[in-house]
């Protein structure tokens, strides 16, 4: 599992040199740490932008009636919020963490394909520049939901949909290149003695995530290309009037979309599997079963896509197959949760910020898992489908799941990145305010969903008013708290108590064998792992 550290092989490789001077350092860099940093800042910027859109949504939903935006713009906000959070905030954050940490964890000098690494990052600002610019175009930006179901996104779409399609293509290329890089790095650049089954779980979950990305991003590219053909070249893939099939869109989209949700959570599973053992001062329970469970989840993710489509009228045998397959996912996911709890059991626990976020991750992600299990029951899903119950479900797996996983990782490795300890007191404030805000925002959504409130509506019946107001207050609290996170990170970069090479006494792994901050070049000579 975690590697035995061989001290001595650290900062100094054959040609020691630091980063280039001036802004071109960031444009031309092939250094995994620089690129990781850029990914993380990009992700945080997108997180604030997507979050601002959520604030607009929650302000409109604060009371019944239309107050600050019209339905047309509201739909653009829900769509862009989803797209930016999925493709701009969560995915780049994990690629950033992978860039920074995978070479350090496996004793590699850099990513395997550094120039491609630079290109895959710089595609992202271009893609998101295009996507966000659609908001200022005549007819407005994408307004058909982040799932962009045809024919609303084809025949009935605003003109800017073509820019949206191109932006998705660019993001897809970026993700595929990032994934190839992770696979090449993990399979080829491991230090001597670092066998696959000794890798930290973060490397394992990212390896599997990378295969998911390579498998499904081309499918996403395919579906948007079919849209492009329908819109501009007279085909009728999704146009019923031309003999096409609107349901085909959903099958292709969700064949991408379901593995995509695991792409957004598996790396967090990996990070939490490093953090909990560190602060429990006890090895991860069931390392091998964790690896197999991740593989099982990845496999199952390919055969459950139609559970997003229980109401489209697929035949009853199809409903049954997808219901059973979906229920099965609870088994490997359960194994992971039980392993994390067993890792904590009879450990010697402390609750620094990374551990607080990691423990909240386990609890709240499990709540999201429970609602996921409820949603898998097809007859019950007829009542839940496309209501706020679903919104509650996927925000519980994405916010305290993916995003708390990212916060936990950030606090855990921030001393390694900056060479300073972060302000623990402020970080705990960040945790508790996020925890309270997030639960206030998303827990009442279960209630309004079960009581009958559909998702993606800008206005609602009075019976939903009180819980929506609570939700909005919680969302404002959660949103504002993230500015505190920005402050904590900047404060940590600028100074603070110097961090030792291994700031956490219970930590294991090669990343803690290099000084803090990690030198610009590490493991020029591979470490020996015993």
């Amino acid at each position: 599992m975690s590697a035995v550290i061989e001290p001595g092989h650290t900062a100094h490789d054959e040609h020691p040199h630091g980063p280039a001077r001036g802004p071109m350092r960031w444009v031309l860099t092939t250094n995994h740490k620089d690129i990781g940093t850029m990914y993380l800042w990009f992700s945080f910027t997108a997180f604030l932008l997507g979050g601002s859109m959520a604030m607009i949504i929650r302000t409109e939903l604060f009371q019944p009636g239309l107050q600050i935006v019209q339905p047309e713009f509201f739909n653009q906000m829900t769509t862009m919020h989803g797209l930016i959070m999925v493709f701009g905030a969560v995915m780049p954050a994990f690629v950033g963490l992978a860039n920074w940490m995978i070479p350090l964890m496996i004793g590699a000098p850099d990513m395997a394909l550094p120039r491609m690494n630079n290109f895959s990052f710089w595609l992202l600002p271009a893609a998101f520049g295009l996507l966000v610019s659609t908001l200022f175009m005549e007819g407005g930006g994408p307004n058909f939901g982040w799932t962009f179901y045809a024919p609303l996104s084809t025949t009935f779409a605003p003109e800017s949909v073509t820019f949206f399609i191109f932006a998705i293509h660019l993001m897809g290329i970026s993700s595929i290149m990032g994934a190839i890089n992770v696979i090449a790095t993990v399979l080829n650049l491991r230090a001597p003695g670092m066998t696959l089954m000794k890798m930290p779980l973060f490397c394992w979950t990212w390896l599997i995530t990378a295969f998911l990305l390579i498998a499904v991003m081309p499918v996403l590219a395919g579906v948007v290309t079919m849209m492009l053909m329908d819109i501009h070249f007279g085909t009728s893939f999704f146009n019923a009037a031309g003999g096409g099939d609107p349901v085909l869109f959903q099958h292709v989209f969700w064949f991408f979309g379901h593995p995509e949700v695991y792409i957004m959570i598996l790396p967090a599973f990996g990070a939490v599997s490093s953090i909990i053992p560190t602060f429990a001062r006890k090895p991860l329970f069931g390392y091998t079963s964790m690896v197999y469970a991740t593989g099982a989840i990845a496999f199952l993710s390919f055969i459950v896509w139609a559970h997003h489509m229980f109401t489209v009228g697929i035949p009853v045998t199809g409903e049954l197959f997808f219901m059973y397959a979906t229920m099965l996912i609870a088994v490997p996911t359960g194994v992971k949760v039980f392993n994390w709890v067993s890792t904590m059991w009879r450990g010697s626990l402390t609750f620094e910020a990374p551990m607080l976020f990691a423990v909240a991750f386990v609890i709240l992600f499990t709540i999201g898992g429970f609602s996921g299990l409820m949603l898998s029951i097809a007859p019950a899903d007829f009542q839940y489908h496309d209501t706020y119950f679903v919104v509650a479900h996927f925000h519980y797996v994405l916010v305290p799941g993916a995003i708390f996983g990212i916060f936990a990782s950030t606090y855990y490795w921030l001393p390694k990145w900056t060479g300073h300890m972060y302000d623990e007191r402020l970080a705990r404030w960040h945790f508790w305010l996020s925890f309270v805000g997030m639960n206030l925002a998303f827990f009442p959504m279960h209630f309004v969903g079960l009581a009958g409130m559909p998702r993606r509506i800008p206005d609602y019946n009075l019976q939903f008013a009180d819980f929506n107001m609570v939700s909005s207050l919680g969302a404002f609290l959660f949103g504002a708290t993230q500015l505190l996170f920005l402050y904590i990170v900047i404060k940590c970069i600028r100074g603070g108590e110097p961090a030792p090479a291994k700031p956490w006494d219970g930590a294991h792994g090669l990343e803690w064998s290099v000084p803090s901050p990690a030198p610009y070049h590490t493991f020029g000579t591979p470490p020996e792992v015993k």
């Binding site: 329970f285 450990g347 029951i377 019950a380 009581a451 559909p454 206005d459 107001m469």
Partner: protein, 385 residues
């Protein structure tokens, strides 16, 4: 409008209020059909299973967080493997899932059996209203949102059925098995009535089947649940279940009204009558996009005020209203409205919002336009872009 006092009262006495009003509803309602009750039972069963598992797992976590803190246990244990428990916590959840799948399968098979219906109703989703057609009965109508637009804009008070009220509900007989054939005319919609546990996507080019049987008369409300564009949140579903005798009387009344409307088409309409009727039609069929002022929401929804078409020749105006504009949200209203309503609304548009042409389009004009087109002599329908 300010609801803060109620919010705080509610937080203090949550349960008491939830009895009095639906505002603090935290759960699904069991509904009024056999299917909805079995769905509710499934929902509660899986919920309690999740609660039980949650109590065990979170209980263990919280105990560990309390008892296994470093201040109480400076020396951690070192175990990190146990094949027996790993197998147990793989197999036991699997068994629970199998136990859960059995009733779920039974309910699903029951829902998927729309055979031997007493009545067939075709449900068609339009942007943004529902159309109901009683197959074999020659009765059909649109069901539009009836909520006052001023209430949505906060200039008028909101009632209890705000956004859940329609001008004409779907009426079905109590006790009968009613089969719904669900489809759509433009984008995908989804027809949902929570109390009946019926939700089915309305997809252009597809006809989905679903059904219900409601024992007791009553009024049941739901909404479109698939994002279908701008006014997705403003196309409610209302189902009125009537006792069989009342239903028969209602159906006879609808048929008589249809015959009356046909007769009306032949009479000579004055400009004033057409404008008055046209304003009513505009309020239900056109106002969502072209707005009460006729100024639209350009560029997606163009203005009618001073527009080339609405102030141009009658033929062009009839053409776009009857055939729509493919590739845009402008639907072909020739399929949706009667000759009288088409004539009225076109006349209204030519004489409202400052468009003062003073001319009128009569039901006979519409009839002639349709006839000419069928024989291939009138204007061609607009071509796709």
């Amino acid at each position: 409008m300010m609801r803060h006092p109620r919010l705080w009262m509610g937080l203090l006495s949550c349960s008491a209020l939830s009895q009095a009003q639906a505002a603090w509803d935290v759960n699904m309602r069991p509904g009024v059909t056999e299917v909805s009750r079995s769905v509710f039972d499934l929902h509660m069963t899986i919920f309690w299973i999740c609660v039980a598992i949650g109590v065990l797992v979170f209980g263990a976590m919280f105990w560990s967080m309390f008892a296994h803190r470093r201040s109480r246990r400076p020396q951690p244990a070192h175990f990190h493997e146990n094949t027996r428990v790993e197998v147990l916590w793989t197999v036991i959840p699997l068994l629970i899932l199998i136990a859960m799948a059995v009733p779920a399968t039974r309910t699903l098979l029951h829902i998927y059996d729309p055979s031997e219906p007493d009545l067939d109703i075709q449900v068609t989703g339009y942007q943004w209203k529902w159309h109901y057609k009683y197959l074999g009965e020659d009765v059909e109508f649109f069901s539009n949102l009836a909520t006052d637009r001023n209430a949505i804009g906060n200039q008028a008070p909101k009632n209890d059925h705000y956004l859940l009220e329609v001008d004409e509900p779907l009426v079905i007989p109590a006790g009968a098995k009613v089969r719904f054939l669900v489809t759509a005319a433009d984008v995908i919609h989804s027809w949902w009535v929570p109390e009946l546990a019926v939700k089915k996507d309305a997809i252009p080019g597809f006809i989905n089947e679903t059904w219900t049987r409601v024992a007791e008369p009553g009024l049941y409300r739901g909404q479109c649940t698939e994002l279908c564009g701008k006014d997705h949140g403003f196309m409610p579903v209302v189902v009125e279940v009537k006792a069989p005798a009342d239903y028969a009387a209602w159906l006879a009344g609808k048929k008589a009204a249809a015959a009356e409307a046909t007769a009306q088409a032949g009479k000579a309409w004055t400009l004033e009558e057409l404008v008055a009727q046209g304003e009513r039609v505009y309020r239900t069929a056109c106002v969502a996009c072209h707005q009460p002022t006729g100024e639209g929401l350009p560029p997606a929804f163009p203005a009618l005020k001073g527009s080339k078409i609405a102030t141009g020749p009658k033929e062009g105006h009839m053409n776009i209203v009857i055939d729509g504009k493919p590739g845009t949200a402008m639907a072909a209203f020739g399929k949706q409205l009667s000759d009288v309503d088409l004539a009225a609304v076109i006349t209204y548009e030519r004489n409202a919002f400052g468009n003062a042409l003073g001319d009128s389009v009569t039901p006979q004009d519409i009839h002639a336009f349709r006839q000419a087109r069928e024989t291939g002599q009138g204007m061609q329908p607009a071509q796709p872009q």
